[in-house]
Symmetry: C2
Subunit: 304 residues, 2 copies
């Protein structure tokens, strides 16, 4: 009986709250997971889960075992990594979450160098602007832009997003350019549902702060969609500078209100605080942090 396999099955079932869900996550069949947990319970001589037709919940024994099993899995993982770590190598799969547009524009282009450097490494990039639960999605780490306050997470700052007010020349030709943040009230402001700031935009100029409630006829939950809207001349947007790097340089979009700066937001990587970060995950986040530090769009240090 492969203990670790059984441990993993149980842990996944406990995390996802069901045998079927765990089976999908583990790329196996539901009967297999069911049997593995049942065998484990037989071996331990105790019920780990309360079953119901709607799902499962942990028993007291299950709760105690869950932590121990997690630790055992981590230890085994560490043992496998110990050999490679001695040579500065990392191997294994890393599931990384990231916002859709940011991932497409700034993570994917930086992965070839990483994968070439660590030949045993494989990456599973889970893109989405809706941040789910780290553990529910089985992610090793996730990139988040903005402030994170989840106490179950360890966050590490790996970059900074300055933001600028942008619009396309076509829109400006039609609607004119704002001279002051207050002018935005008369404009079509494109809104991104993923920002915690809501529909009030904030600007700063030499200590002076302007809060502007904005309105507009388009709102999207994916920044990539808002990006397309800007390019299509649908309105004004306060965008991360990295969202329009080439377009600003080429003049395809122009920046407005340049002396009024929206507050910058941190780019962070979040990992679960329950388990220590394995070397393979560390390698990925370190690589991204190092790369971002060199990109003037993603850092406040180097303004090359």
């Amino acid at each position: 009986m492969d203990l670790l396999l059984h441990f993993r099955a149980f842990v996944r079932v406990a995390e996802l709250g069901g045998f079927s869900a765990a089976a999908r996550a583990l790329n196996t069949s539901q009967p297999a997971v069911s049997r593995q947990v049942a065998d484990l319970e037989a071996r331990l001589g105790a019920r780990l889960l309360h079953r119901s037709s709607t799902g499962v919940s942990l028993t007291e024994e299950g709760r105690a075992f869950l932590d121990a099993a997690r630790q055992a899995l981590d230890s085994a993982d560490g043992a496998l990594g110990a050999v490679g770590a001695r040579r500065g190598e990392v191997a294994g799969e890393v599931r990384l979450g990231a916002p859709l547009a940011f991932g497409r524009l700034h993570i994917v282009p930086r992965l070839p160098a990483l994968l070439e450097r660590h030949l045993g490494l494989s990456l599973d990039l889970v893109l989405g602007d809706a941040f789910g639960d780290l553990v529910q999605d089985g992610l090793d780490a996730t990139i988040r832009i903005g402030v994170v306050t989840d106490p179950g997470l360890i966050v590490r700052r790996i970059g900074l997003t300055r933001r600028v007010t942008v619009a396309s020349p076509a829109y400006l030709a039609k609607a004119g350019a704002p001279r002051h943040p207050d002018d935005l009230a008369k404009h079509d402001c494109l809104r991104f549902a993923g920002l915690s700031t809501g529909d009030t935009w904030v600007f700063e100029r030499a200590g002076e702060v302007a809060r502007v409630p904005v309105t507009g006829r388009f709102r999207a939950s994916a920044s990539d969609a808002v990006r397309t809207a800007v390019l299509a001349g649908m309105g004004i947007f306060v965008a991360p500078v990295w969202l329009f790097g080439p377009e600003i340089a080429s003049g395809e979009v122009v920046t407005l209100l340049e002396d009024w700066a929206p507050p910058a937001v941190p780019i962070q990587v979040a990992t679960s605080s329950r388990r220590q970060v394995p070397p393979r995950v560390r390698a990925v986040t370190d690589h991204l942090a190092a790369e971002f530090r060199l990109d003037p769009l993603l850092t406040d240090y180097g303004m090359g």
Copy 2:
């Protein structure tokens, strides 16, 4: 691939210095062990062992992996025990080493209560007066009588062996009784090869110390054999009181030089300091310690 099984195989091979020896210890075949380690190396992409026809030795990678694998095995073991531990139960097998005579006389009779109390527990008692290597013999713990100075061991005192000078009435009728330790030089003194004191016997009386070099025509490496020799009237012996408990009470052997006491020696249980003591082992040693504390032959506290 059952990782833990492979880990265990490798650890055993590393500890015992050979595939064949490990196979014997693991109750499996040599090819199985050979393949498991080979598969592990393939998985890790590194050689863990240097092979030679005379045995194996660890590579650098192997040394690093050995610790990690041990820890993983301990973690997995801990996970299995976590459920039972919540209920104060222990389960699993414990391999306990003990001196032959002591084990027979004072450990075996105390095991039924232990096994009845912990139904999931099974014991493998390895008896022998020659103390081997704890890890080489795959022992969880070993009982040692006398001072232990191995830095790789954690020793815990679980009793005290007072000693007395004894002989059978038949011998005394033939050779007379000594009045003073010095008289022993003229007697047949039975010697036990397992004692570190060698062939000089030490006695104490009110701070006064007598060291007597003794001679005799019988010597054995098992205290059980010396015990039989005493009963057969072959000579005088300085024996642990627990070796002749009933016989002294019945008069089958008599104590001599009662005001001259040989130094007492501790009864200790030794466990490896490399890994923490699992609950199942703890349960065994605790049980023995508690039992010994109640036996006037094995403690200096209760002289009931």
